[in-house]
């Protein structure tokens, strides 16, 4: 979740005093207020709106939404001499694309520099997927000599002083010694050649997506003009990211200049701030939203979302070039809905006739649990995830043949899917040895096993485990409970002798339904009881309840 934290006073200067009504309104724009203090306001920004991740982007959108500003058109100045970036073919394998711009006329102060770094960092993290997808560099134009070349070299041949580092080191050393290098090393370390931007003096500007040069990559209060590059893998995304930054700089008072990008496929001018045209149908909007809006109303609603409209035999929405989230005309429907105000829709229940129906295993589970509760048992519920130790060793199973279904990188100690409920049941009794007896518990839940037939190669079935724990718990008692359950469900069964390490030999049996094994029951081995600090005898059954389906 990305959170945009802004200085409250600065924001109030632009959008007015933040009253509870305005706070609510901000939430109804799709940017809920996460925290509000006298000094700061924190706003949650959903991942589809990276364009809102700056003071400028957010105020631009909210002012229009509040009807205080109309759609802004951004102007781009023509490139001046040497406003060129050449993409060398050496870089194509490691980091194929870049797109760039120049912004002048900037008046940076500490607050604005913080803003710029903030946008950059937030875009890296969200839209750039932690620099995997794209990385952004901003450089004081005064420190570099145009034109720029984007190329790749052997890491040993790349030497410069990385940002906030005391001396020059080579690219390999950057990955192992510089904090940013260490953090993002995995994005480059296996590459043969590393990408770099160099200027006309052969000075290294940066090594994306890791770090800028200390000499040419640091914005200060004196910086008036900047060179901006976005590099990465998907040109469409890079262009959006660049547009988000340059429009924010324009909103700060900057003037955008385009650059000529020379790629082997051809030349083009960057950035492109032309709105994107998204054709849509007014009928589809109304049908989706359940409204009856006219074209005129829709134009007004879209305007509040900074979207212009034109009609050339077809309704067309002109989407601002910094918007990343309009993929389909359905997205226009949401723009209209937000603008219309979610609170203004009138809820409606349609007259369609459908018949409710409970799943048959759900019904069975409910019935089994009703029968058992009727005998005084209480239901428990345990986690589906467990550990090898708990599932096997704790209940006396030393060598198990079952293949374990393991979880990758679990943040808890639980790293396998449970294969039985018996172990969980014994664990619950163990944790409750100071509660009064009798303790009579059961659980119905899924257990997991290998099954090559299934889509996931994992089988799942609903299992039932009952444990009776009291001074007189014995085989008879658990068999009685089973017998009652089976009689109530009108299911015939047989009991056959069995062996199981959790149970006492000679007091352990398997349950057979239609000549198929369906479960195991008996008196729990005192070794297991002692191991689990259970003070009373326990008799248990675990059975497959899907076999009880009529």
């Amino acid at each position: 979740m990305a959170v945009l934290t802004l200085n409250r006073k600065e924001l109030e200067k632009v959008i007015g005093k933040i009253t509870p009504e305005l706070e609510n309104k901000i939430g109804m724009f799709g940017t809920p207020v996460d925290k509000l203090t006298d000094e700061e306001i924190s706003i949650e920004i959903f991942p589809n709106r990276p364009d809102l991740l700056s003071f400028q982007g957010f105020t631009r959108a909210i002012l229009s939404f509040l009807g205080k500003k109309s759609v802004k058109e951004y102007k781009i100045e023509k490139p001046e001499k040497d406003y060129k970036v050449t993409i060398d073919k050496s870089v194509k394998k490691v980091r194929p694309h870049t797109t760039c711009a120049i912004v002048k006329n900037l008046k940076f102060d500490d607050e604005k520099i913080k803003n710029i770094i903030d946008i950059q960092e937030k875009l890296h993290l969200t839209y750039g997927r932690n620099r995997k997808k794209l990385a952004i560099g901003v450089y004081p134009l005064e420190e570099i000599k145009l034109p720029i070349t984007f190329l790749a070299k052997k890491p040993e041949d790349i030497r410069f002083q990385p940002l906030e580092f005391p001396r020059e080191i080579n690219a390999r050393q950057i990955l192992s010694q510089h904090p940013a290098g260490r953090e993002y090393a995995n994005l480059l370390k296996d590459e043969e050649l590393f990408p770099i931007f160099i200027d006309a003096n052969n000075e290294i500007l940066s090594m994306p997506p890791i770090i800028n040069s200390h000499k040419t990559g640091k914005i200060t209060n004196k910086t008036k003009e900047v060179f901006i590059e976005v590099s990465g893998f998907n040109l469409g995304y890079l262009k959006k990211a660049l547009n988000i930054i340059v429009t924010a700089l324009d909103d700060m008072g900057g003037k955008i200049y385009s650059m000529e990008i020379n790629d082997k496929e051809g030349k083009y001018l960057s950035p492109n701030l032309e709105p994107e045209k998204m054709p849509f149908s007014i009928d589809f909007m109304n049908k989706t939203l359940g409204l009856k809006l006219t074209e005129k109303e829709i134009i007004k609603l879209l305007e509040k979302m900074n979207i212009s409209y034109e009609n050339k035999n077809q309704s067309i929405a002109l989407i601002p070039s910094y918007r990343t989230d309009i993929l389909h005309e359905i997205d226009i429907a949401e723009e209209i809905a937000i603008s219309y105000g979610y609170e203004n829709f009138i809820p409606e229940i349609p007259q369609i006739s459908t018949i409710g129906e409970e799943d048959k295993i759900s019904i069975l589970k409910r019935k089994v649990s009703e029968i058992l509760i009727g005998t005084g048992l209480s239901e428990i519920s345990t986690y589906h995830l467990s550990t090898k130790e708990k599932q096997f060793k704790n209940i006396g199973i030393k060598d198990f043949k079952t293949e374990l279904i393991e979880i990758i990188d679990s943040k808890t100690e639980n790293n396998i899917l449970r294969t039985s409920l018996l172990a969980q049941s014994i664990e619950v009794l163990s944790n409750n040895s100071d509660a009064t007896y009798p303790q009579k518990i059961f659980e119905i839940g899924k257990i997991f096993y290998d099954n090559e037939e299934n889509e996931t190669k994992i089988g799942e079935k609903e299992s039932l485990c009952i444990s009776l724990c009291n001074e007189k718990a014995n085989f008879t008692e658990i068999k009685q409970t089973l017998d009652y359950l089976m009689r109530m469900l009108d299911i015939e069964y047989e009991i056959k002798e069995a062996e199981h390490p959790s149970f006492i030999t000679g007091r352990c049996a398997k349950l057979m339904i239609n000549n198929k094994p369906a479960g195991i029951l008996g008196e729990i081995n005192p070794f297991v009881l002692k191991n689990n600090k259970i003070k009373m005898p326990v008799s248990s059954i675990e059975m497959d309840i899907e076999m009880l389906l009529a």
């Binding site: 989706t288 939203l289 409606e348 239901e379 986690y383 808890t412």
Partner: protein, 513 residues
């Protein structure tokens, strides 16, 4: 009249006395349970219980005296015989002046912990030094031989805490910090004072009361022996021991109710597996393959399993949706990879059941259709007061050519009203697979603020077109359910959701809706 009333009361009182109480009554002046025990032969528990009943009836006043008794613990008993570890070590050092650690331990026959404690204790008193693995006497020899305060104290046990001198209290703290040397027991003694009424009744002749009937027995009923006799009156106001009955797990009580609500609204139940392919959990729901939720730090992926994908046609449709190749959509503008879709995971939402159900609806041409699910979902998360790695979600979908946003709001309003939330707020939100998307907040009457409950929306064309071949409006919502449960059962710590503490479960109220 007044006298008669009083006699009547006394008569009732007499009729209410149990045989044990009658037995005890003559000996109330003994003031001491042990004596009553000697005289009546009743066990102490029965005597205490009867005394409490007599006290309830106003026949006796009971005064409880607490006394703290200090006795020897398990190790204490042993040390009383063999001497404290430091004593055993002192004796050896006093004899030899200097001795190696190994030798000292061997000779003193102390275990590692005892030996360490003994060394520590003597060092603290500056009686010994450790040099190169040898224990050297560094203080006066008398210091070693003299009995310590601790030893004096130990010999004096058992003692009453109240009578300890300050230096003995110090020894007590010393010894109590060591394992099982000392046992401190609180002993309660009961002092018994008959009331005026009690004194009166002591003189009463109870020989007739012996004819009163205690319990009704089958024989009694059969023989009719109860004719003309009186039943002993019970103290109907006295508290009774608690019992507890069989009960459904509280979470399941709540899900049962939600299920009932869904069924009343005409929804069919959908179920499915918890382990599922990324294809169904993410790809079919238009969640980009580089979306952070698909990383291992957020989701439980299963090791060594590669899922089978459904039929090629559907897979290609989904690929097309992601790559922006279905009409009218830009997609995610990247190359969709089959391998990523084959990863197996524990479902992160019940929406994966909805998408699988949509496919069945398409095959059966079942329109309109309404389905619901209730189930556990998973996220790779540590457990604390507000989070867990398993959580409950409830899910509903409505498939209808004429479904629209107003209807989505209508269903949500109705569902949450039935769940007990009259006041809900709907606000814009974002999910990769719905558009428009919304978030449902409920108004929390105690915190006096809006609380986020879960998401809803209409499935995007990139979700519906691969399944149906065209866009059909589908309303979908999947609020988390745990918050509602925790609130109803007044659970403040998420760990209690699956704590299975039997005492807590026994005392938990039941779901009242």
């Amino acid at each position: 009249m007044e006298k008669q009333g009083k006699d009547n009361d006394i008569q009732k009182l007499i009729e209410s006395l149990s045989p044990n109480e009658i037995k005890i009554l003559p000996f109330l002046k003994e003031k001491n349970i042990n004596k009553i025990n000697e005289k009546t032969g009743l066990d102490k528990t029965s005597i205490v219980r009867s005394l409490e009943f007599l006290s309830n009836k106003g026949l006796v006043t009971l005064k409880t005296n607490k006394e703290t008794k200090i006795e020897l613990g398990l190790n204490g008993l042993l040390y009383a015989k063999l001497g404290l570890p430091e004593r055993r070590l002192s004796n050896i050092i006093a004899k030899k002046n200097s001795v190696s650690l190994q030798e000292a331990q061997k000779e003193s026959r102390l275990n590692d912990n005892e030996f360490k404690a003994a060394i520590g204790s003597l060092k603290k008193k500056a009686l010994i030094n450790l040099i190169n693995g040898n224990i050297i006497l560094s203080g006066k020899k008398e210091g070693l031989i003299e009995k310590t305060l601790d030893e004096h104290f130990l010999e004096s046990l058992p003692r009453k805490y109240e009578n300890l001198k300050p230096e003995e209290q110090f020894s007590l703290n010393n010894l109590n910090s060591r394992k099982d040397i000392i046992e401190i027991n609180e002993i309660k003694t009961l002092e018994i004072y008959p009331t005026k009424l009690g004194e009166e009744l002591i003189k009463h002749d109870f020989s007739k009361s012996k004819d009163m009937i205690e319990a009704i027995t089958p024989i009694l009923i059969k023989t009719g022996a109860w004719h003309g006799k009186k039943f002993r009156r019970y103290d109907i106001e006295s508290p009774v021991p608690r019992i507890s009955g069989g009960k459904k797990y509280f979470i399941n009580q709540a899900t049962d109710y939600a299920k009932k609500t869904w069924l009343e609204m005409g929804f069919k139940e959908m179920t499915g597996t918890m382990a599922i392919s990324s294809f169904w959990n993410f790809d079919a729901l238009f969640t980009a393959q580089d979306h952070p939720v698909r990383e291992m730090q957020d989701t439980f992926f299963i090791a060594n399993k590669i899922a089978k994908l459904p039929d090629k046609k559907l897979v290609n449709e989904i690929k097309a949706a992601h790559e922006g190749k279905i009409k009218g959509s830009k997609g995610w503008e990247y190359e969709w990879k089959e391998e990523d879709a084959k990863k197996v995971l524990l479902r992160t939402h019940t929406t994966c059941l909805s998408i699988q159900t949509l496919r069945k609806i398409h095959e059966k041409k079942e329109f309109p259709a309404k389905y619901f699910a209730l189930g556990k979902c998973f996220r790779n998360e540590t457990v604390d007061a507000t989070h867990g790695f398993e959580f409950n979600q409830t899910e509903g979908i409505v498939v209808d050519e004429n479904a629209n946003f107003c209807q989505l709001l209508g269903y949500l309003k109705e569902f949450f009203k039935k769940m007990g939330y009259e006041k809900i707020r709907i606000r814009p939100s974002y999910f990769p697979y719905t558009e428009p998307s919304l978030e449902i907040d409920i108004f929390h009457p105690i915190f006096n603020k809006w609380v986020e409950l879960g998401g809803a929306g209409m499935f995007r064309p990139e979700v519906t077109i691969p399944i149906f071949g065209r866009h059909i409006p589908i309303l979908a919502w999947g609020p988390g359910f745990d918050r509602i449960i925790m609130e109803f059962f007044k659970i403040n710590d998420f760990r209690d959701m699956y704590g299975n503490d039997i005492n807590k479960l026994r005392n938990m109220k039941i779901w009242r809706k």
